[in-house]
Amino acid sequence: MSLAQNRPKTEAATAGMEAAAQDRAWEPLIVAFCCNWCSYAGGDLAGTSRMQYPSNIKVIRVPCSSRMNPLFILRAFQRGADGVLVAGCHPGDCHYSTGNYLVRRRLSAFKRLIEFAGLEPERFEVRWISSSEGDKFSEVMREMTAAIKALGPNGKLRDGRWRKIT
């Protein structure tokens, strides 16, 4: 690290940086938990087919949508996510036969619970995307990003120590 970087910033420089930060448009952070067998492969297909979807989506691969522990979802919101998406195989197509049937009940209950706690319904979504639906994958991601952009940054359930809301 050079000395110049260590030097305290002048007031003018700080003001300039703040102005620059304000100019920079806020971009939402969306965490998408995708099931290994369908939705993640759907994302792969979207990629290999050169379909466009926003870079706001950060994909995390899970072995099955029923791997979703609600703690994962709350943790994502705590640590800076503005929206969380869970994507899995269509009901009936689960690699493990019944995983997504079970998670449909669990996440339905959980979605309503976090909405009851005050989270906007758009911030947590569940979608079924098969491995052949690359177009649906990119469409869902675009829709979700647009919805979260319209809502603005999420401050609810956010851990104050983790990331400041801009």
Binding site: L74, P91, R104, S108, A109, L113, F116, G160, R161
Partner: protein, 325 residues
């Protein structure tokens, strides 16, 4: 204490003494009087001397089923006194394989509802009450040389106001005469009131409620569905919650605590009663009960141990709370 409670205590003592002294059970879980007249705490009776302290009055709110999980580690067979809600709590634990039913002898006590000391204080209108008497659905509060009589309904614990099953289900022996059926009270009105608010107003409400949380975990300790050997709040790897009192961590704890009871909560209200700072925890539990009933059919947890809880099963044509297109 009221005369009839003394009679009842003697009657209960007579029955359980036979079983305890003959060795049919190694331990009896009951209640004894606590430090104050308005407290009845759990009693762990092993012999005649312990049994002398057994009490049954209008302050025996503590759920004894919860103690079975620990007590069955050291005792072969345990007898337990159960009110209506406690009996459903026992079914909950049996269904979760936390308690082997054949090692428990359940003595049922039909329950008229337990009294709330805070409400009695209010009824005493500023005086410090030093005792009560009960008769025909009326409670007479004595204190400062004055006696004030109020209807029993007014000084009930919150958790007893919405009780649908005052008579114990699936007990081995019913010790007292069953109390009459209750009218179905509307228990979801507070939840509906919250639901009608906007997201932001709901968040503000819960933020205000949960900011009081000390994270003492009394709600978890009192709860019959929180019977995990290792709770997520104490898990080291991964570490879900830190020790700091942070609004987001309070949310995380309470949402997940309630969610772990989804389709399993018997709505006994012990969590809310145990809470030292008065967080309306039952609202979270009831929200889940209400939604699961709406989406996946009516289910009353703890009534029938043979019936599968709704979140452990599915139907291919289930509805969802999210868009499935």
């Amino acid at each position: 204490m009221a005369e009839n409670n003394v009679d009842y205590s003697a009657k209960i003592r007579g029955v359980v003494a036979q079983d305890l002294l003959s060795g049919r059970i190694d331990l009896l879980l009951g209640w004894e009087k606590g430090h104050y007249w308005w407290q009845s705490r759990p009693l762990f009776a092993r012999d005649q001397a312990d049994l002398e302290r057994l009490a049954w009055d209008s302050f025996c709110a503590v759920n004894l089923s919860r103690y079975l999980v620990d007590e069955l580690k050291e005792n072969k067979k345990v007898g337990v006194l159960l009110k209506g809600c406690d009996a459903r709590a026992l079914n909950r634990l049996v269904q979760d394989n936390m308690v082997p039913r054949e090692r428990v002898i359940a003595y049922g006590l039909p329950c008229p509802g337990m009294l709330n000391y805070a409400a009695l204080l209010e009824a005493a209108a500023g005086r410090k009450p030093d005792g009560i008497a009960e008769e025909n659905g009326q409670v007479t509060v004595r204190g400062g040389g004055v006696e004030l009589t109020v209807p029993r309904d007014r000084v009930l614990l919150d958790k007893c106001r919405h009780c649908l099953y005052p008579n114990p289900v699936h007990c081995d022996q019913l010790l007292l005469t069953p109390v009459g059926e209750r009218q179905a009270p509307e228990r979801f009105s507070a939840v509906q009131e919250r639901e009608s608010l906007s997201s932001d107003a709901r968040f503000a409400y819960w933020e205000k409620q949960l900011e009081r949380c000390l994270r003492c975990y009394a709600c978890r300790q009192a709860c019959p569905y929180c019977s995990c050997r290792e709770c997520f709040v104490e898990q080291e790897q991964p570490r879900w919650l830190s020790k700091a009192s942070q609004p987001s961590e309070n949310f995380m704890f309470h949402l997940i605590r309630a969610y772990h009871g989804a389709g399993r909560c018997i709505d006994c209200g012990e969590c809310q009663r145990a809470c030292p700072v008065g967080i309306p925890l039952q609202e979270l539990n009831r929200k889940l009960i209400k939604d699961i009933n709406e989406l996946y059919g009516h289910y009353e947890a703890g009534l029938d141990p043979g019936q599968e809880p709704p979140l452990l099963t599915y139907r291919p044509d289930d509805p969802a709370a999210f868009s499935e297109k």
